[in-house]
């Protein structure tokens, strides 16, 4: 499955591996990336670092997604802080961010840009 598509994009899985309105985790270039699938948004897919910087464990893909005051967010399953799916910013603690990865759907392929 680790076919390099073009440049530094990497196909990590197919749409079928994603879970509707929820997250899964992929290993991309040694990094744990949480991938969220919200098919009724324009982008449909979002990718953030899987490590919860507050709970200090690799769990973000297992959080509940939703929206708060217009921002699309995921809630940490450990201590419930919310992170913006587009910017990675923590809503409750200023200055805390999750890394954001470029991600796109190409047909059924889910592609993530490998950190260069």
């Amino acid at each position: 499955m680790e076919a390099v598509k073009q440049d530094d994009w990497q196909t990590v899985c197919t749409r079928d591996d994603l879970v509707l309105n929820s997250g899964v985790c992929a290993l991309v270039g040694g990094e744990q990336v949480a991938i969220f699938y919200l098919p009724d948004t324009d982008r449909q897919v979002f990718a953030l670092g899987n490590r919860d910087p507050i709970g200090k464990a690799n769990v973000m893909s297992r959080g509940i997604v939703g929206d708060l005051q217009g921002q699309v967010v995921v809630a940490s399953p450990l201590y419930k802080q919310h992170f913006n799916l587009e910017t990675g910013a923590c809503l409750e603690e200023e200055g805390v961010f999750l890394p954001v990865y470029d991600i796109q759907l190409d047909g059924d392929a889910v592609n993530v840009k490998v950190a260069g």
Binding site: V12, N21, L27, G55, R62, G66, D67, A75
Partner: protein, 841 residues
């Protein structure tokens, strides 16, 4: 000038209220309190609740620390025996001396025991203090029948206590009717009828001549009409007498029939000595209610703080209470003794309701009222009475239910001076002031003003005033569960049920907005599970679940999970015990026994969960729902099967209950226990629903919990057979599931239930809402559609996909690192992780 010494003799409710008031006025006095009982002041009004499961410590009004924090010196357990007025000193039984500048006597009263031969028998008791309760409880243990002498307010309270102890209860009254002071004949008769329907036998016009040893029972009471009554114990509750001995011996003026004489400043005949509460005689009258006592306490405190015009003007003795579950209210001139007064009487013998109002001759002013069986009109009538508000043209419309539109005396119609809470003397004006100063909820107003924290009788009125005022200010009380749904959990449950909504998407499309969040999604998933009982990992539900429900295991701090298989009732075979050990050994899991008599296996990675469960399911285990807001465990003791003391098969019942309700999703976790006898080894009284065996069946306790704010469960029903027990639990659980807020344990739910335990009994036992059949059917549906979530999951490849650690790799999470401690694994600390990674390079 040296600090003024204030000495308070007596630490009952009134004595305590005096200290609290004086401390609140910050007078810089040196305050000392001397109490006879070994413990600080407690709430005597609610004493009988100790028999329905409340702990004596719950009744405390203060602790030793309270006084310490206030800078008040307090001595308990050493009563004052002498006042030496010339030296301004008092002497205690233990020989200690205390001097004073101002002395406050709050010695209260003692229960009156009629001078009857044989009343000194050790099975003849009184009902006044927490220690008295202990004796009553101990004597009740080997009694089947108990008699209360006295059919007044206290006597009936005490009757309730005996009934709660499971005794066949009799009330013996000297006068021709019950509660002769507060009720007229009609009201008194209706009260008797209702109480007798509850199984309490009432004997009126009975003059006890002597108490002798009985033949078939411990005692026999012989009456002047040559009748007799056998009983195992007697509690005297025939009124109170002021404790004025200290005053008498130090030659202060006392009344002919007792009571320390006070003036409108609450001063005794010695101007440095005050008397307050039930020991004081004002205007030839003893005030035997707590509210007037509190008034006196405040009058003295205010005077000592320099407010000279503070005075006691007598007090309204109107009262509203629940006696043996019967609503009784009495206002002003209940007997219509005022000259020229006229009465309106309404009596409904089928519903067993009696109401009477007494008005002035012109029908314009309310002079008094009696209410039995229905106190809904009490608050309104009291306001008419206290504030002398002119009555409507047809005063009877205030009490006659069929009269159509009842003229409502809304909160807005009350004058600012209207007293809402008479225990703490809180007027409507005080409440408005509290709201002006920033309070914006009922709870805040309560803690600011203390309104409704005494007897609680004004709760409904207070709520009306606060809500009316808040809405007049444009404050909308928002009870929405979150920003996506403008509804409470209870309303959402209703919407889902009535509209047969089966998915979150339909719910939010129909009744909400946005995408939902980590508050509403699990809440609605839980409602869906309670209503339709689909597998929680079915596609429309999987994204709604908290991670614990998603992976059917409990996430720990490092992202690994713990596994708790069901061990119903805590009973497990050696074979199964070995399987747990073998599985734990094979996967290197940390094992620990839980508080709920199960075994918890820690440190499983998400990708290991399915294989571990395949082994457990093969060995006959089922999921334990330790991860869900659902029924957890039903703890048990070994019961009559093995134990020398057990009277029923508690293990068998616990297993039956656990298997019946396993898988039931609820607003919060549910715990239960079954004890085989009153020794209560399974700690059932700390559970959401607890069952304790009796000789005749089972006692059911509801709404207890341990945790952060422990609460003892309330005794709900006694001596139930198996079938009735299960029926009540079915109804209780479904009613809770339907009406509780999100994450609201049964204890908090109960505390917020208007009407409390009595209301719950009406709904569950008497079916007052007519919903019991529906609740049972709903429970039957949940029980009938049970599936072990793990058994279903390991047989469904689609559901198993979610357990992969990574969608594109078989590697494991490198962030999970264990170290050894006491022969087992534990998660590594951050600095240990760094060290381990460095040394492996």
């Amino acid at each position: 000038m040296s600090t003024r010494k204030i000495l308070v003799v007596g630490n009952g409710m009134v004595g305590h209220h005096f200290v609290e008031s004086l401390v609140g006025l910050k007078t810089a006095d040196d305050i000392t309190v001397i109490g006879e009982e070994p413990r600080p002041a407690y709430d005597r009004v609610h004493l009988s609740e100790v028999f329905s499961g409340r702990e004596p410590s719950d009744l405390a009004l203060a602790t030793r620390e309270t006084y310490e924090n206030w800078g008040v010196t307090a001595h308990f357990g050493d009563p004052v025996v002498r006042i030496e007025r010339a030296r301004r000193e008092v002497v205690t039984k233990g020989g200690r001396r205390f001097s004073y500048d101002k002395l406050v006597l709050a010695t209260g009263s003692f229960p009156f025991v009629p001078p009857v031969k044989g009343a000194d028998n050790k099975r003849c008791l009184v009902y006044r203090t927490i220690d008295d309760l202990g004796q009553i409880k101990a004597t009740a243990k080997d009694s089947t029948r108990g008699v209360v002498v006295g059919g007044g307010l206290l006597g009936l309270e005490c009757g309730n206590a005996l009934r709660n102890l499971g005794l066949e209860t009799h009330v013996v009254e000297f006068a021709p009717g019950l509660m002769g002071v507060q009720l007229d004949e009609g009201g008194s008769n209706m009260l008797r009828r209702k109480i007798e329907a509850l199984g309490v036998r009432v004997h009126t016009s009975k003059n006890t001549q002597q108490i002798v040893e009985g033949e078939s029972s411990a005692l026999s009471m012989e009456f002047s009409d040559d009748t007799a009554l056998d009983t195992d114990m007697i509690v005297f509750s025939a009124g109170i007498r002021p404790r004025d001995q200290l005053a008498r011996e130090s030659e202060l003026a006392v009344g002919e029939r007792g009571g320390i004489v006070i003036d409108y400043k609450c001063k005794t005949s010695d101007s440095d000595i005050f008397a307050i509460g039930e020991c004081a005689l004002f205007g030839g009258r003893i005030y035997g209610l707590v509210a007037p006592g509190y008034r006196m306490a405040e009058v003295v405190a205010n005077q000592l703080a320099g407010e000279q015009e503070a005075s006691f003007q007598g007090a309204d003795m109107s009262t509203k209470l629940k006696l043996l579950g019967v609503d009784v209210g009495s206002i002003g001139d209940a007997h219509g003794r005022t000259e020229g007064s006229i009465s309106y009487v309404f009596s409904d013998e089928r519903a067993e309701v009696y109401k009477r109002i007494v008005t002035s001759g012109d029908g314009k002013l309310l002079l008094g009222a009696v209410l039995v069986g229905d106190c809904e009109d009490y608050d309104t009538l009291l306001q008419y009475f206290l504030n002398e508000i002119e009555l409507p043209a047809e005063p009877e419309s205030l009490i006659v239910p069929a009269a159509g539109d009842k003229p409502l005396l809304g909160a807005a119609a009350l004058p600012m001076t209207a007293t809402v809470c008479s225990c703490h003397n809180v007027t409507k004006g005080c409440i408005i002031e509290a709201l002006d100063s920033g309070c914006c909820s009922l709870g805040e107003v309560k803690s600011e003003t203390k309104a409704s924290t005494g007897c609680g009788g004004c709760a409904a009125m207070l709520k009306n005033v606060v809500e009316d005022e808040l809405s007049a200010r444009g404050v909308v009380v928002d009870k929405s569960i979150c920003e996506h749904f403008p509804y409470t959990r209870q309303e959402l449950f209703h919407l889902a049920k009535v509209g047969e909504v089966k998915t979150f998407q339909d719910m939010i499309d129909g009744h909400g907005k946005g995408r939902g969040c980590d508050i509403c999604k699990p809440a609605i998933a839980s409602i869906m599970a309670s209503l339709w009982n689909d597998h929680v990992l079915e596609l429309p539900h999987v994204g709604l679940q908290d991670t614990n429900d998603t992976f059917l295991a409990n996430m720990q701090k490092d992202g690994t999970y713990s596994i708790v298989p069901r061990i119903a009732g805590g009973e497990i075979t050696p074979e199964k015990l070995i399987v747990l050990g073998e599985v734990a050994k094979e996967y290197g899991l940390y094992t620990k026994i839980t508080g709920g008599q199960r075994i918890d296996l820690f440190g499983a990675r998400q990708n290991q969960l399915p294989e571990i469960w395949r082994k457990l399911v093969d060995a006959g285990f089922e999921t334990g729902h330790a991860y869900g807001k659902a029924l957890r465990t039903v703890k048990s003791c070994v019961g009559s099967t093995w134990c020398r003391y057990g009277v029923q098969d508690s293990v068998g019942m616990a297993i039956f209950i656990e298997n019946r309700y396993k898988g039931l999703r609820s607003p919060h976790k549910l715990k239960s226990a079954v004890s085989g006898c009153t020794r209560e080894c399974a700690e059932a009284q700390s559970k959401d629903f607890g069952v304790i065996a009796t000789e005749n069946g089972w006692n059911l306790y509801l709404c207890g919990n341990g945790g952060m704010k422990p609460r003892h469960a309330d005794l709900f029903a006694t001596d139930l057979d198996d079938e009735t027990l299960i029926k009540y639990i079915d109804r209780f659980l479904m009613f809770y599931v339907r009406t509780a807020d999100r994450l609201q344990r049964t204890s908090v739910w109960m505390d917020n239930l208007e009407g409390g335990l009595d209301y719950l009994r009406e709904v569950i036992i008497e079916d007052s809402l007519g919903i019991c059949a529906e609740l049972e059917a709903q429970m039957a549906a949940v029980v009938g559609t049970y599936q072990c979530e793990w058994t279903t999951t390991i047989n469904d490849p689609e559901k198993l996909k979610r357990f992969r650690q990574f969608v594109n790799s078989d590697e494991e999470d490198s962030g999970v690192v264990f170290v050894q401690e006491r022969g087992q694994i534990r998660p590594a600390q951050p600095e240990e992780k760094i060290r381990l990674v460095a040394s492996s390079k």
